[in-house]
Amino acid sequence: MILLTRKAEFSSAHYYWNESWSKEENERVFGRCANKNGHGHNYTLEVTVAGEVDPVSGFVVDLKELKEILQREVVSVYDHRHLNLEVPEFAAGTGMIPTTENIAIAIWRRLEGKISGAKLHRVRVYEMADLFADYYGER
């Protein structure tokens, strides 16, 4: 089995806010991330797929196809958007706060079943160079 990783980047705004908490509780738990005017990051996404090498093409997956899937399913939806206000899975009422962990989970859900010929293995989202979250589809 071969693991293959494709990278993509998107820049988005977000804030952390739990609707069921008071303003004070949100500020206590989330600190400056609770500023409802939002702030932003340059995110780096690494998607790793696992599969066998096709004996004819020599590929696990067609990288161009994988790039297009990432562009269509993730980058076109997240890039230069406000995650809380413009991306449905993080909208108020969903209970899904756009933390790095939840962004990795949401991207997994967007990609699951969309990549033909290989199994989604890992979604890694870097919020910054010194902070990233991994999701392996564990429920």
Binding site: Y16, N18, S20, W21, R28, V29, F30, G31, G95, M96, I97, P98, T99, T100, E101, N102, A104, I105, R122, A129, D130, L131, F132, A133, D134, Y135, Y136, E138, R139
Partner: protein, 174 residues
């Protein structure tokens, strides 16, 4: 230094001076929810000398080469600490990052940054190889009450890195 591993002292001692309780922490390990892994990268600079009392002077020079220089040498270590666990439904987090950073500041950076590793209690009986340093950092973060450490990776230089995980071998996902 794999060939020397049976002869040198290894297994850094657990520090006993930190609080393992969750009292006062916002982070709480929980049991349900999708399981994710959060990795934080810290940097620290320290000196060390690789030298084992179990060897003669000549053996030390043979085994450790330039790392046995009596005056020591140093590195900018890049330390990646991975915490694993269910993502909390209320916070969307594996653990509170501020609390993890505070723990790292107190128990890692203040103790090891700009220090000579050979002079520290953690390496009184263990050679301060980056293998042993990695195990020591793992042991330290086992004291963080907010989530469970599952992996520590240390870059000694851009060319060398070391990983330790009790989960390795049990799961291929780490």
């Amino acid at each position: 230094m794999g060939t020397a591993s049976t002869k040198i002292a290894s297994g850094a001692k657990a520090p006993i001076d930190f609080d393992q309780s969750m009292a006062g922490l916002k982070s709480r390990p929980i049991k349900t929810g999708p399981r994710a892994y959060l990795t934080r990268r810290y940097r620290l600079s320290a000196s060390h000398r690789l030298h084992s009392e179990a060897y003669t002077e000549e053996e030390n020079r043979t085994v450790y080469g330039k790392c046995n220089n009596p005056h020591g040498h140093g590195h900018n270590y890049g330390i990646e600490v991975t915490m694993g666990g269910p993502v909390h439904g209320q916070t969307g987090m594996v653990c509170d990052l501020g609390e993890l950073d505070e723990f790292a500041w107190t128990h890692l950076l203040e103790r090891f940054d700009h220090k000579n590793l050979n002079t520290l209690d953690a390496f009184r009986e263990a050679v301060p190889t980056t293998e042993n340093f990695t195990r020591e950092v793992y042991r330290i973060f086992q004291g963080f009450g907010g989530a469970r450490v599952v992996r520590v990776r240390i870059e000694e230089t851009g060319n060398n890195s070391f990983e330790y995980s009790e989960e390795l071998g049990r799961t291929e996902t780490i």
